[in-house]
Symmetry: C2
Subunit: 457 residues, 2 copies
């Protein structure tokens, strides 16, 4: 059977069995608020980067149970007939707030807040987590790499090192983290990302000599192309590359080095290129780079970084470890109550949170504040704090209202907007955010109960 177009089965089975039990028990319709957040940042992340929100809205639009899906659930007896009837007509009709794509996040930041009946908010859990756990992990790694690159372009070349469909989403997330282009054509087609790439070692090996391979490439792609010079001997490769480009009437665009000691190679190759008068010819390096290798190349004469494995696998943190927790729900009496798990090491903070970032007098972020209580009280608090001179930026936007997706957050400009927004937001973080070493988050998170905080169950 081929892959489903619908996204509703990209789901853990227990979401459906919980709905079944709640339907039977009469609790499926209880108003509920779930929050999606990370309990803490990984120790090597001074901040996280939100990516995937737009993909979530796309997935939500297709979160329906097709006839094929229903048939499968029926045949496998995964849920009973009443539940199948409920799923057949299912469309999410609740509300979703979230951090904008490109926003930075910290411990406890509610990246998404889903409000609806228990059943509808429960059904979305797995797919929301899958998308954000993947995309945020990649975008967060990408952002560290672009910090380390200090303005030199970083390019995604990781498609081959991850799942073929994850690669497409990873390319998109990398752009949010500041990458400039991707080698993945499907990402180019689907998200309008600029693509790049010229040739591999196999192309050189296909021909009798390196020179013949270079001639073939330059004849087709022009002297402005990037020639891969390390198949045999780098100095000879560089000399040949520059000569072949000139014979074709131009200066060589760039050389690519994909092996060896990149720092030493970059200096040698730059020296050779300059000696040959090829001062405009650039150097791209591409061998097993991560943010640390990029930082180490900071002083070397490198013009662009091609990053593969470490980008698409989150550079040591392949999943953002975000969770989705019920924080508030309607009680038997019809009132909303805060709820929290008491498990050791996995406890949660009850009550719905409104997030705002506080800034110091120099305009740098100083604290992530999570206000627990009503939206009205949150608004009043923002006004009161501003009056006292504390600048607070509210962090959540409304993505979905009564099931209607606000397409502002899911249109053709969403990716570019997210990338620009990330640059802006990252520049507001204190200097510690730019450290690559393990350590504390760039800013701390403080939970502040408002008067209207709902009673705890």
């Amino acid at each position: 059977m081929s892959a489903s177009w619908s996204t509703s089965l990209l789901t853990d089975m227990y979401e459906l069995t919980m709905v079944e039990a709640a339907l039977k028990h009469g609790t499926a319709e209880r108003r509920s608020v779930f929050e999606l957040f990370g309990r803490r940042l990984p120790t090597t992340r001074r901040f996280g980067v939100v990516a995937g929100t737009s993909r979530i809205l796309e997935a939500l639009e297709r979160f329906v149970f097709s006839k094929e899906d229903i048939d499968y659930l029926h045949q496998q007896k995964i849920v009973n007939d009443d539940t199948l009837d409920f799923l057949k007509d299912f469309h999410f009709q609740g509300n979703i707030w979230g951090y904008q794509e490109g926003e930075c996040y910290f411990a406890g930041s509610p990246l998404l807040t889903v409000e609806g009946t228990f059943a509808e908010a429960c059904l979305l859990e797995t797919v929301l987590l899958s998308i954000l756990n993947h995309d945020c992990a990649v975008a967060s790694a990408a952002s560290r790499m672009t910090i380390a690159a200090h303005g030199r372009p970083c390019l995604d070349m990781g498609a081959r090192r991850t799942h073929e469909r994850a690669a497409v989403s990873a390319a998109r997330a990398s752009i949010i983290g500041g990458f400039k282009a991707s080698s993945d054509l499907e990402a180019g087609k689907r998200y309008g990302i600029g693509t790049l790439g010229t040739s591999a070692h196999s192309f050189t090996l296909l021909h009798e000599t390196e020179e013949e391979a270079f001639r073939a490439q330059v004849a087709t792609l022009g002297p402005g192309t990037t020639l891969l010079v390390d198949t045999y001997d780098i100095p000879k490769g560089v000399e040949t590359a520059v000569r072949v480009a000139r014979e074709a009437g131009g200066e060589l665009g760039a050389v690519r080095i994909d092996s060896g000691d990149l720092v030493a190679q970059a200096f040698k190759v730059r020296g050779q290129l300059d000696e040959l008068g090829a001062k405009t010819t650039k150097i791209t390096v591409t061998s097993d780079l991560d943010e640390y290798a990029i930082a180490a190349l900071g002083a070397a004469p490198v013009d662009a970084y091609g990053v593969g494995t470490k980008l698409v696998t989150g550079s040591g943190i392949p999943t953002a470890a975000l969770v989705y927790k019920l924080v508030e729900r309607e009680g038997a009496e019809g009132f909303m109550e805060g709820v929290a798990k008491k498990s050791k090491s996995k406890s949660t903070v009850a009550g719905r949170k409104w997030a705002a970032r506080a800034f110091d007098e120099d305009g740098y972020a100083s604290e992530e504040r999570l206000y627990v209580g009503s939206y009205e009280d949150f608004q009043k608090t923002l006004a009161a704090e501003e009056a006292e001179g504390t600048h607070l930026r509210p962090l959540q936007v409304k993505l979905v209202t009564d099931g209607n997706i606000d397409r502002t957050w899911y249109d053709e400009s969403s990716l570019e907007r997210a990338a620009n927004f990330h640059q802006e937001v990252r520049n507001q973080l204190p200097y510690s955010a730019w450290r690559l070493s393990a350590g504390e988050p760039a800013i701390e998170t403080r939970v502040i109960p408002l008067e209207s905080a709902s009673p705890l169950n």
Copy 2:
């Protein structure tokens, strides 16, 4: 734009620009042999597990350039019109040999050998690598976990911790590595994998009391269900769970513990269950498990392991780091020649390899042999070695002949067959294969040139 049905753009752009340059230069049609292999195993892997071959055949069937794909390539000027004409009619017409799914592999093992024109073998590179790098990483991690579990069932619950589509493939790969079921419904639907799951903490929190939540679940799923007992206080949870199940007329199926010190908890909970007379009630644990945590739980009274993050992210090795290299190609004179890259730290062995595993007198695998040369010489060598008493098992099967996929390797029984085959093959490895610590591969790889090895370029 929505995701492509075709798989041809799940590809690095340079595969297409190389084809363009080779077409123009007249070298696109040269017969070529590419091998897909890992240069070495990661230090914590005593063996790798082949998974994804069946998915590759599925992807190959859809490796066509649709009108939409061609339009994209044209609009973005990614390749010229001659190349677009070539791509429009493209169907792979070459041959593919490969290790069977479930097979163990070692340094240099040719997991796939692709023989065709340079152009057609080149175009497939990225998607072949994406699929195998992902699926082999997950299956290899899964196999270590099932080794550590010593026969207790391991269950995939990782969907939420990885890309939503990668999760489906990860579930499949985990079954090859010995897992017994998955929480992912799409994996169930698509691959016929058994699914499982009952409830989350949110279900307990939805209700006024834990007891009410348990009643709701047992009323729907029966007393044989698994109740999650760690939302508030475990001893109280266990007592309530057993009582509620009995009041519904049966003994509780299982309890699930998802937090805290699992070893200590398991002993306490088992003791409590036995004291309550619930001797048949099982214990499932599910908190951040990997192969080491599973091994540590070996002496604890646990009945099943639910594994999430570490399974789907390859337990520290999120990509199998497999590469795809041209090893032989037709020269200008029309003869096949071995080719190899000389780059420092990334050199390759020229010539097409035929793989066989040697066994010692006790029937345990002793060596991975890669014979370089013709198929006929390989067959002769196998016969000669057998005559001398060395048992050699040839490792490659023909998956694709002249573009025709052998559907034996891609039918409904392929997953179960691969899982069974892996058990069989793993049992043939020496004891060192079962070590979880870092170290040498379970067997070494030896490259053996045959007389017919093609001359080197």
